[in-house]
Amino acid sequence: MSAVQPPVSRETPVIGPGWGYASVSDKIADLVLTRPVRWPWLAAFFGTLAGTLVFVAATGWLLLRGIGIWGVDIPVAWGFAIANVVWWIGIGHAGTFISAILLLLRQKWRTSINRFAEAMTLFAASMAGLFPILHLGRPWFFYWIAPYPDRMGVWPQWRSPLVWDFFAIGTYILVSILFWYLGLLPDLATLRDRAHGRFKRYAFGLAALGWRGEARHWARHQSAYLLLAGLATPLVVSVHSVVSLDFSIANVPGYHSTIFPPYFVAGALFSGFAMVLTLAIPLRRAFALQDFITPTHLDHAAKVLLATGALVAYGYASEIFTAFYSGDEFEIALTLDRFTGFYAPVYWFMMACNVLAPQVLWWRWARRNTVLLFALSLAINLGMWMERVLIVVQSTSHDFLLSSWGRFLPTAWDWIFLLGSLSTFAWLFLVFIRVLPAISISEMRELVRESAHEGRA
């Protein structure tokens, strides 16, 4: 028996050749444990930390002065803040899609990208959770939306989508944390066993809860992990659907549309996969992970972009068609205003980013060109953000009565909050990749075994 050698991975689309259990474990664990801190990371860390501090300070100013520092007013009472919620929560959805839905579909290419995509979900959902609170006017009363037996004797209005939002986003963040931590548990044990410093051993040891890899524990772990994936799948669809109901339950032209839930979910996956590429491409280069995050991974993600992009384009087409087909003059006026009105440049730029640009992904060379993919992912992120802004702002700027038309122009504070949240997100991600394994180590070992077996057969 002892003559049998441990398996070594063969060249497959999802993992490079020559990796064994030990080398794959050490490679990923040492990114956290022993890799020296280098100046590009430090520069990014301090740059984004500065941005985070600006965000914190801006929040302080907002608490002091109120949301009048933003460009919001009547009739456009929802500005960047609400667009940012929708955008950020959408970005989070790709992480759940990769870790849950692709797990249930037994897609092997999810293995090396699910961990950092889940981290992306957590950080994006946290940013999303922040904006509605900041937008409240009196954010310190945000807990009034939670049902608790208070002395005022009132309860939340259960028929309001804003209350549903609280439950949907809250559940989403909590379930994402559970899912992420459950997957992380065996890897924390790996780090505990490999760490040299006393502090690291204790910290990882406590976080690993004494995981020792017993077969019965693995069986329960697998069972719970699959069940969480099964739960996260409808959850992720429900979250963005509920977010879209914030709009579509209102009767404002441009909001009041039955296509909103699926259209929002497709847009969420579209922008989320773009963000996965935005993070994965620099990550694999900086950490030399080309054997784990292979061109095939990028290729598959690009195909998902192409597919979800087509769904989003269908959503745009359907909105236009329904507006004219309905004969509703307010819907028609709003659609024409999108084409030619004050916000038309945003609309056409969004179309260029979200509909036109992704068409290049029909070609294989484009899906394998990392520089192009990276640039495209940024364009799609920008395009999807503009889509959210357009839905939120342009609809309310141009509703039924001429007398209640108005324009929203962002102030410097609107931009500071947007860039500040981006900076905070990037900072959290930078901390994450140095503190926790960015790729699931135990699942990579499984992949090593599978690829070795496949090679033999």
Partner: protein
């Protein structure tokens, strides 16, 4: 030998451990333990693990969350704080569906994780197997089969013979 917690053999591959687990089961061990750095398919079953209660707990958690979520809304909207808005029904259950659904998912997810941890007896930061030599490789690249002394089938010499017959990389006593 009497003060040992058990005997432990170390293997280099998952297949060797799987064979060892089957051999231990065949030799009458009911509490043998196998340690692997990833989820090896069929390993728990080879040791005689029949089924996990995690799915049941998840279902019950989801049920409790969903029923609790619905009751919360129904009670507050119908009994404790009825708001008559143009005579619309108080018990407007379709509008209670989103929160009921979210609460069901939340309850099920927490139940799944708690049931998994409780079933495994985690957190448990101390365990005798951690004292075994090389065990720090259990979550890296090595596979271990442990025959614990508290297993009714355990008999020191026979256990040692069984492990040696599996041709492990090595086998050792696990100190208590």
């Amino acid at each position: 030998m009497n003060d040992a917690w058990g005997l432990m053999a170390e293997f280099a591959t998952a297949d060797a451990l799987l064979q060892g687990a089957r051999a231990a089961r065949a030799a009458g061990y009911r509490q043998a333990e196998a340690y692997a750095p990833f989820a090896v398919e069929g390993l728990a079953e080879a040791l005689g693990f029949e089924r996990t209660r995690v799915p049941l707990a998840t279902f019950l958690g989801g049920l409790a969350g969903g029923l609790g979520g619905f009751f919360l809304q129904w009670y507050s909207a119908v009994v404790d704080y009825p708001l008559d808005i143009a005579g619309r029904p108080l018990d407007s259950w379709p509008m209670f569906v989103p929160v009921t659904f979210e609460m069901a998912v939340l309850g099920a997810a927490f139940a799944a994780v708690i049931a998994m941890l409780a079933g495994c007896g985690l957190p448990q930061l101390r365990h005798p197997v951690f004292n075994a030599p090389d065990f720090e490789l259990a979550m890296r690249n090595r596979f271990f089969l442990c025959l614990p002394a508290h297993d009714p089938a355990f008999e020191p010499e026979a256990a040692a013979r069984l492990l040696a017959s599996l041709h492990p990389l090595r086998w050792v006593e696990v100190p208590r």
